[in-house]
């Protein structure tokens, strides 16, 4: 036995509700040496999480490990009894979940939960465990390591909670830690701190790791080797540098290409700048009780002004909580503004959607982030897309059916999909249906609220390409709200940076490197690059970080 982990010809099967057996992992083999970090990368449904979980001998409900060997530290996890596996979990192998916020028990303190593993396995007395936990907090560069353990999970930020989850995994001195997309839910500025902390702690302890992710740039910073999975099979394995510079498999190349979406060509035939589609002036909106001056207690959007020109796109970028989604809802009238003016297509708009005319509502459509909740699960795709056609255009059955076909065609979906329900579609397909419904209204402006953030890199870049194409054909304008700079850069003519409810800067994509506002500088410099040395070489102005970073 030379390697810490040796997986040979692993097969996992799942049973569907019709009793049909599907093979989801088809003979995967991989090795992990002591202290090595490997990344499992692939689109959703590629089996990367299933493989990672199988290293703990765990198969999710409905799945069984049907063949192959999973040797971890000399023991075959697939052959052990559940009791023997439980003994190894937490001591030999540990797991860091995707959403730490959902994995902590809100009813007890963080320290209790971090040292729980030592209690279950009787590794050390509680006093010693607490000391060790504080050491871990310090090495994960958490603020106030002495006292943070006394807080409850809701009293710390998302990035801190993710690092605390890592502390929980590391307290049993595991030889292998499995990270399941631990930074996917974090802002870029926070992601860096978490990645740095993970990397230094793993390196210092010589701990081997499995890092599951679909973000190649993040993986490039932390992994020694990359394993590319698709359809339950290993497509390609290689060191990080090899994969990034000389990928052989077409799927890997596709992943790499998706990371650098093509820039939008500047409009040669752009209409004169005076042609304003939407103008908002000093709009303020927020939540909580309205005070004497007519403004709400908490201002999520604070005196923001912006202009969208016909046929051009505006990107709004900022971290979570900066007010960018509220801004979208204010423009759409879902959350009426407390102050300020909105002028759309030359005419002033009422603040609340309920008071706007049907035509005004039709011309401005909003597309939401989560297609899962934006599509009614009880209705087939054709009913979902056809409703705006009936409601706004009063089309009869035949015309409606033709138009649904056209719209499905526009968003590159096969016509047969119209009879399916949203639950029977993939994430990318759902987002396309979501978009087709907005197109059905024949809008002039579409507000896209983080529409690609729930999608894989490859799927997201395909959706972005689609949006660009449709814009050329239909002369639409988009307001594109995102926390992902590469997405915004790819599609927008102007980028507006928001921080704490205020507009801090507006620049064009080609001038991103020359941002003037300090927050924009921090934000733009925090976007991971496909360069393995990027994280180590990254120098950030500590003053900036302390001013704007939420650590």
């Amino acid at each position: 036995m030379t390697n810490l982990v040796e997986v040979r010809n692993l097969r996992i099967k799942a049973t569907t509700d019709a009793g049909r057996v599907v093979e989801i992992i088809k003979g995967v083999s991989l090795d992990i040496a002591d202290g090595e970090i490997i990344a499992l990368i692939g689109e959703s449904g590629s089996g990367k999480t299933t493989v990672a979980l199988s290293l703990m001998g765990h198969a999710r409900p409905g799945c069984q490990i049907t063949g192959g060997e999973i040797n971890v530290n000399g023991k075959n996890m697939a052959a052990l009894s559940e009791k023997e596996r439980a003994k190894l979990r937490g001591t030999d192998i540990a797991y860091v979940p995707q959403s730490a916020a959902a994995s902590f028990n809100p009813a007890s303190t963080i320290m209790e939960q971090v040292i729980e593993v030592t209690r279950i396995h009787r590794l050390m007395p509680p006093e010693q465990a607490r000391k060790r936990a504080v050491e871990l907090f310090r090495s994960l560069s958490l603020p106030d390591p002495e006292r943070i353990g006394g807080r409850y999970p809701h009293q710390v930020s998302g990035g801190q909670l993710q690092r605390l989850a890592a502390a929980m995994a590391l307290i049993g001195n595991p030889k292998l830690v499995i990270f399941d997309e631990p930074t996917t839910a974090l802002d870029v500025t926070t992601q860096i701190d978490v990645l740095k902390a993970f990397k230094s702690v793993m390196r210092a302890g010589g701990i081997a790791g499995v890092y599951v992710s679909h973000d190649l740039a993040v993986v490039a910073q932390i992994a020694d080797r990359i394993v590319v999975l698709k359809g339950g099979e290993v497509q390609e394995t290689g060191t990080t540098a090899e994969i990034l510079s000389a990928a052989k498999h077409p799927y890997t190349r596709e992943l790499l290409a998706a990371f650098e979406p093509k820039r939008r060509q500047a409009h040669a035939d752009a209409e004169p700048a005076t042609n304003q589609l939407l103008r908002i002036d000093n709009v303020t909106a927020g939540y909580g009780a309205v005070r004497d001056n007519g403004l709400p207690l908490v201002r999520a959007v604070d005196s923001v002004s912006l202009i969208v020109e016909k046929g051009r796109n505006l990107g709004v970028i900022g971290e979570s909580g900066c007010g960018k989604s509220t801004l979208a809802r204010v423009i759409a009238g879902i959350h009426p503004a407390a102050a300020g003016d909105i002028v759309f297509d030359g005419k002033p708009l009422r603040r609340a959607a309920g008071k706007r005319s049907q035509d005004q509502l039709r011309e401005m459509q909003i597309v939401f982030q989560y297609a899962d909740t934006a599509l009614n699960p009880a209705k087939p795709v054709e009913d979902i897309i056809a409703r705006p056609l009936v409601f706004y255009h009063g089309l009869d059955r035949q015309a409606r059916s033709r138009r649904v076909d056209e719209l499905l065609d526009m968003v590159r979906l096969p016509k047969a999909l119209r009879y399916r329900h949203p639950a029977e579609l993939s994430g990318g397909q759902k987002q396309r249906v979501n978009f087709a419904r907005a197109l059905a209204a024949n809008p002039k402006l579409i507000i896209c609220d983080e529409i690609t953030s729930a999608l894989d890199t490859v799927v997201a870049s395909a959706v972005i390409e689609l949006l660009k194409e449709l814009q050329r054909e239909l002369g639409l304008s988009y307001i594109f709200i995102s926390h992902d700079l590469s997405v915004v850069e790819a599609i927008c003519d102007e980028i507006m940076v928001m921080y704490n409810g205020q507009r801090v800067e507006q620049i064009t994509p080609d001038k991103v490197k020359a941002a003037t506002h300090p927050y924009s500088k921090l934000l733009f410099s925090s976007v991971p690059k496909l360069d393995p040395t990027w994280l180590d070489g990254l120098v950030r102005d500590p003053e900036l970080v302390s001013q704007y970073g939420h650590r």
């Binding site: 049973t15 569907t16 509700d17 019709a18 009238g333 939401f368 934006a374 409703r387």
Partner: protein, 281 residues
């Protein structure tokens, strides 16, 4: 988990199990009896056909005779009519009003929701049998009064249930999309919310049907339900209670009828056919 899947069979894209099938057959049988009772009863329900009272089961009088010597089989078959009919009418009114009001409250919110919820909570706090007693004592007992009383008693429950489900659906993005599209409240509740809550609502409908059968039987047992010579199952149990020391079938059979119907409805709700989502199978 694997065993549960294996014991289910599939039919028309749905999987079902044996318990559900048996339960639905029992319900179907009682429904047919309720519809065709007047044509299949061997004797008119008011006729005294036996010299003895609480007669045993024998040829011609398959379920024996009651406390006046009337044919028990005929009376149980006709009783199905009243028990199933009145309960079904009452549960339909209760669930329809409750669910519509519940969805309306969830979508409208604000004062309308608060006032309606508090009012129906107050209604809910009145014990159901007591409420029935008071109404029947005040306006007398007749079939329409019984139906309405039973319906009113069960509206608050149906309302609470539907409102709780609808509030969850109301926070979904597709509701926001529909609102920003400018849709009317009727469309929002009928077309966006209802299809998403219809399955639990139907399960609740069945459960409430059982409650109403039991409450109706209880009222009839107390003598406040149907008046003689008509009799539902609850009334049949009460009027023949004197046969208990003789182990007369007249008191056992209507009790079994109530039990078989309510238990079957419950079992069916727990074992409804499930749609198979795996299309490639």
């Amino acid at each position: 988990m694997a065993r549960a899947i294996a014991s289910r069979r599939s039919f028309l894209g749905h999987s079902y199990n044996l318990v559900g099938v048996v339960a639905s057959l029992v319900i179907l049988a009682w429904t047919l009896v309720a519809i065709f009772a007047p044509t299949i009863i061997p004797h008119p329900i008011g006729d005294i056909v036996d010299d003895d009272y609480f007669g045993p089961m024998r040829q011609g009088l398959w379920l024996g005779s009651d406390y006046l010597g009337r044919d028990m089989l005929s009376r149980v078959l006709m009783g199905a009519r009243y028990t199933v009919g009145i309960s079904l009418a009452a549960v339909s009114i209760a669930c329809f009003s409750g669910v519509v009001l519940g969805m309306l409250a969830a979508v409208t919110g604000g004062w309308f929701d608060t006032c309606l919820s508090r009012f129906l909570d107050a209604m809910n706090s009145i014990p159901s049998k007591l409420f029935g007693l008071v109404v029947v004592a005040a306006v007398g007992s007749s079939i329409p009064v019984l139906i309405l009383t039973l319906a009113v008693i069960y509206i608050p429950g149906a309302y609470r249930f539907a409102r709780a489900l609808a509030v969850n659906i109301n926070t979904m993005d597709f509701m926001t999309v529909a609102r920003v599209r400018g849709e009317s409240t009727a469309y929002l509740i009928g077309s966006e919310i209802l299809p998403n809550i219809i399955r639990p609502v139907l399960a609740d409908f069945g459960l409430r049907f059982v409650f109403i059968v039991l409450l109706l039987s209880g009222l009839s047992f107390l003598g406040l339900g149907l008046q003689p010579p008509l009799a539902d199952w609850g009334a049949l149990v009460r009027e023949n209670i004197g046969g208990l020391p003789f182990a007369a079938p007249a008191v056992v059979v209507p009790s079994l009828a109530i039990a078989s119907l309510t238990i079957s409805v419950n079992l069916l709700i727990d074992n409804l056919p499930q749609k198979i989502r795996d299309r490639d199978a």
